[in-house]
């Protein structure tokens, strides 16, 4: 029997050895399984190692927390402990560990309460973001309840001297703000009071800045500004040197935190204005004005830039502005849509530097602002005529001025004059400005065929020039272009936002009547935005009228410079 079995086995093994392919496959399988086994073990090992490390770290931090002799020693280990749990979204585990800590040492309760509130807050956010709805719906109420109770406990157990107090107020406000509930307003008042009180008794600026940053991120611009001002004042009150203060402001500017940068610059300027000679102060002011002036890329605040420009003017008069700075001021005002001031600034620029590179552009823009924004057609015409009366070959702005003069004449039904302007344009622009040539040809065709002007363009001219539409002051449409200074063939994005009366869930169909220099695209009437490219150099004038079923909402205009 045994013998026969052995024989059988041998015969089986023999039969196996008969197929070399099977042998190779089996060998490979063994290798793959072995490799997989090793890899799995390795991963498991790494995980265990990490877990052990994390666990060791948590244990060490817990020990450090238990052994701390003062509250001041608690902030860093608690923060580290929080980070170690939060990085893996282990919120409930963190809450459990906090409870364990407070059981071991009751004095830790304000801290553990604060971190429980923070943890539940983050957890609710995490569940909403990751759409972890099962837990959200089953545990949401419990977490919210724990959050509010724990935050309140932390507030009750701390005095205004402790940073934990404003931090707990901050988390409570964030929670109510997110919930958009009836308590958000009171929570905000409490937070502001807490931070302000804290700022009076403590030299520590961290909670002030963190609260201000958070307020800013929630769109509470006024309140954040208030706290940034306090933060900046505290910074200034310290031993910090002027240069360091300016460097900090510049740092915040680069981070894009313009409110804080401006607050610190203001304090810095207050500090140095009295003690610095004018010739040294002016370059400082100029640099700040340049930094904040409008630019297509990077942070800018044209309103703040203009404030600094004004300071420069007050300090040394307009004569101190060089050609570039004067143009920058006018351009900055134009982009801030402060058209009246921009027009004045361009005129100052032209008076000071009539032969400057940007002079034709400035003349053209003054013409446009006068005509379409200030409704002073006569004055606008004078500027356009100034451009076309120049000797020699017309520059792009001269060509555009011819078009504008043709347009105004056509709109006034002075078709002979319009014809003359368009024909001269076609002659002067031949081979150089294809998009402008196309527009002028369209207008000429309208005149030749006795057709009315294109509807969108005619509407824009009516709304901009007729007295009956004077209530439409360009305040209900926000028309924006990116970039404002574009190279030829570069993509330019034009978008609009309309501030219309509310209509609830009844959607109002708006018509967007685009006209003017729209580049390569002809957007349809239902497009609130579009992308285009320009092939002509010069200043492109984009016009928009928005119409609702019950009438015209408003008009707007934007200027883009192409090179």
């Amino acid at each position: 029997m045994i013998k026969s079995q052995i024989t059988n086995y041998k015969s089986q093994t023999n039969s196996n050895t008969k197929s070399p392919k099977f042998q190779t496959d089996a060998f490979l399988l063994v290798i793959v399984i072995s490799v997989l086994y090793i890899v799995c073990n390795l991963v498991l090992g790494i995980c265990n190692f990490c877990y052990a490390q994390d666990s060791d770290k948590s244990a060490a931090l817990s020990k450090q927390i238990i052994g701390a002799k003062s509250n001041a020693e608690l902030y860093a280990p608690f923060e580290e402990l929080k980070d170690s749990y939060f990085k893996d979204n282990k919120y409930t585990e963190f809450v459990e560990s906090l409870r364990a800590l407070s059981q071991q040492k009751k004095a830790l309760e304000p801290f553990t309460d604060y971190y429980i509130a923070l943890s539940r807050y983050q957890q609710l956010k995490y569940l909403e973001e990751t759409q972890g709805w099962d837990e959200y719906f089953s545990q949401g109420n419990t977490y919210r309840d724990e959050l509010t109770k724990a935050a309140q406990n932390a507030i009750d157990a701390t005095t205004i001297n402790e940073p934990l107090n404003p931090y707990a107020r901050l988390i409570l406000w964030q929670f109510h703000k997110d919930q958009q509930d009836a308590f958000a307003e009171q929570a905000l008042t409490d937070l502001m009071n807490s931070v302000m009180e804290y700022s009076k008794v403590s030299a520590d600026t961290k909670p002030i800045k963190e609260a201000a940053d958070k307020l800013l991120s929630y769109g509470e611009k006024g309140k954040s500004k208030e706290l940034y001002r306090i933060y900046a004042e505290k910074l200034a009150a310290s031993d910090i040197k002027d240069d360091s203060l300016a460097a900090i402001a510049s740092g915040f500017y680069k981070e894009g935190n313009l409110d804080l940068a401006e607050s610190i610059y203001n304090i810095y300027l207050d500090r140095i204005t009295a003690s610095t000679p004018r010739e040294k102060l002016l370059p400082v002011l100029t640099d700040i004005a340049r930094e904040f002036s409008y630019k297509d890329q990077g942070p800018s605040d044209p309103v703040y830039a203009e404030k600094i420009f004004k300071k420069i003017e007050e300090l040394a008069g307009k004569k101190v502005f060089d050609q570039e700075l004067m143009y920058l001021r006018a351009f900055n005002l134009e982009k801030a849509k402060e058209y009246q001031k921009a027009k004045d600034a361009y005129i100052d620029f032209l008076l000071a530097f009539p032969a400057a590179t940007h002079s034709d552009e400035a003349v053209f823009k003054v013409g446009i602002i006068n005509t379409y924004i200030l409704k002073d057609k006569k004055e606008g015409r004078n500027y356009f005529k100034e451009l076309i009366s120049k000797t020699g070959t017309l520059r792009p702005w001269g060509i555009s001025a011819l078009y504008q003069l043709g347009l105004l004449s056509q709109w006034e039904d002075d078709l002979t004059a319009a014809n003359d302007y368009y024909n001269r344009l076609i002659k002067e622009a031949a081979g150089k400005y294809p998009q402008m040539l196309a527009r002028a040809s369209e207008r000429l065709k309208e005149i030749e065929e006795g057709k009315p002007m294109e509807y969108g363009l005619k509407t824009f001219l009516d709304v901009s020039l007729k007295e009956e539409y004077s209530a439409l002051d360009m305040s209900k449409i926000d028309l924006r272009t990116r970039p404002y200074q574009a190279n030829k063939e570069q993509a330019v994005n034009i978008s609009s936002a309309v501030y219309a009366a509310p209509t609830g869930c009844m959607e109002v169909q708006l018509q967007y009547l685009w006209s003017g220099d729209l580049g390569s695209k002809k957007p349809s009437n239902d497009q609130s935005a579009f992308a285009t490219v320009y092939t002509d150099t010069g200043t492109q004038v984009i016009n928009l009228v928005v119409v609702s079923p019950s009438g015209i909402i408003d008009r707007s205009l934007d200027l883009v410079d192409t090179y």
């Binding site: 709805w133 959200y136 929670f175 919930q179 958009q180 509930d181 009836a182 308590f183 869930c505 019950s550």
Partner: protein
């Protein structure tokens, strides 16, 4: 001495008087109280508490409106369908489901044309399930070409319709209150269903035009309210209003309305609505239309969780602002969620073929519903997906099968145990 005698005499007369006067006073008080007691309280009324807090009282008990907007249009039909007369009686199936959820009120935008059928629905809902009905009237908002609120003929026509409605249904035991209009106030701003009068046309200032329209509209509604109060003192009359727009005019021209029925779509909650209302027009508020759709226009798929998330949060804020929650404004009477079932006809109401299709194309945009705001053109509101109960093409007893969505269960749980985010949550009565 004389003086003293006289005094005594006087005292004696006075003491007789002083015994008689309290006695008479007591008698008068008893008579007054008896008179008061014999004068019946309105069946439904609003009790004003201290600090402009309001409570709806129904049959002498406080009543929180836990409602839904109800318009059970079956798949393949549109708003013209007369579900009131349907032999399949959708309200019987729906009423049972509502009762199980905890719904105590339905809001109907306008009664059907057959009064007997309407009465049957109101009675069945109340007698079978204890669910009360809010009856509304569009006030001609959808009349072609527009609602001429400044025109006497139009005014009289609508007034006749409204008063007929009141006469017909005021004695129904299941009736809760009346709502006049819905978002009609938007027509005063001139953006939708714009109407005018020769005087308004002569006014060049658009702001003054709006004010003129608002004055005409709210005065007209106030007149209707006064008439209804005369005919039916037993039920409050609400002013239906989109958001709080125009209520500064209502304060002046519609002081007789008992409450404001607000249509609000602000996403997660209602923001500062309750406080703002107090400052603008100090009346109690019923959130008569609010909610969220159950379709993610960005991911292009149904998302019941998203709807449940918004609804739970909205109901929490409603409860926070009820009269008995000291932390809130106390001027909220409850709400009626939009809506009970999906309505498949809404996206393309002129195309009968589309009434058979559950359209997923959105008609409007609302950034407060942020999960799917990145949808094309930011259009994220799917009008055919607002039901907390979905409809199936499969028929059950002649009706489209009802499939409750997650929001149904989440709100049911919330109503059972209304958990608020403040200390006094335990004080809120269910």
């Amino acid at each position: 001495m004389r003086l003293s005698t006289s005094n005594t005499l006087h005292q004696g007369r006075f003491s007789r008087q002083s015994r008689t006067v309290p006695f008479l006073g007591i008698i008068l008080c008893i008579l007054f109280l008896l008179g008061m007691a014999s004068r019946p309280k309105p069946k439904v009324y609003i009790k004003k508490l201290r600090h402009s807090r309001y409570q709806l009282i129904v049959d002498r008990k406080p009543y929180i409106v836990k409602g839904v907007c109800y318009n059970p249009i079956p798949i393949g039909q549109n708003h013209e369908y007369d579900w009131w007369s349907s032999p399949d009686k959708p309200w019987i199936v729906d009423g049972k489901l509502m009762q199980e959820m905890g719904v105590n009120t339905i809001r109907i935008y306008q009664a059907g044309e057959n009064p007997e059928a309407v009465k049957k629905v109101i009675r069945d809902m109340y007698e079978l399930y204890g669910i009360r009905t809010i009856l509304g009237h569009w006030l001609g908002f959808w009349e072609y070409p527009c609602p001429f609120y400044g025109d006497k003929i139009f005014q009289d026509k609508i007034k006749k319709e409204v008063l007929e409605m009141v006469e017909l249904y005021k004695d129904e035991p299941g009736l809760l209150l009346w709502i006049l209009g819905n978002e009609n106030n938007y027509s005063c701003l001139g953006m939708v269903n714009k109407w005018s009068t020769p005087e308004i046309d002569n006014e060049p200032d658009p702001q003054k035009q709006k004010a003129m329209r608002a004055r005409i509209y709210y005065s007209y509604v106030n007149g209707l309210v006064a008439q209804i109060h005369k005919i039916d003192p037993n039920h409050p009359v609400a002013l239906g209003n989109g958001e709080l727009i125009g209520l500064e005019f209502a304060r002046e021209f519609a002081p007789d309305v008992d409450l404001v029925a607000c249509i609000i779509y602000r996403g997660r909650t209602f923001g500062s609505l309750f406080r703002s209302l107090k400052a603008t027009f100090d009346k109690p508020v019923l959130l008569s239309e609010f909610g969220a759709d159950a379709y993610d226009a960005y991911l292009k798929k149904e998302d019941q969780n998203m709807q449940a998330f918004f609804l739970e949060s909205q109901w929490r804020q409603i409860y926070e602002n009820l009269a008995d929650n000291k932390e809130g404004e106390g001027n909220c009477l409850g709400g009626t969620t939009f809506e009970w079932t999906d309505e498949w006809w809404k996206h393309d109401e002129n195309n009968p073929e589309s009434w058979k299709v559950h359209d997923t194309e959105s008609n409007w945009s609302n950034g407060s519903y942020y999960f799917d705001i990145k949808a094309d053109g930011n259009k994220n509101m799917n009008e055919e997906w607002f039901g907390i109960v979905a409809l199936s093409e499969e028929l059950e007893n002649g009706l489209n099968k009802r499939i409750p969505r997650k929001a149904y269960y989440v709100i049911k749980e919330f109503w059972k145990n209304p958990s608020l985010d403040n200390k006094s949550k335990n004080k809120v009565k269910k």
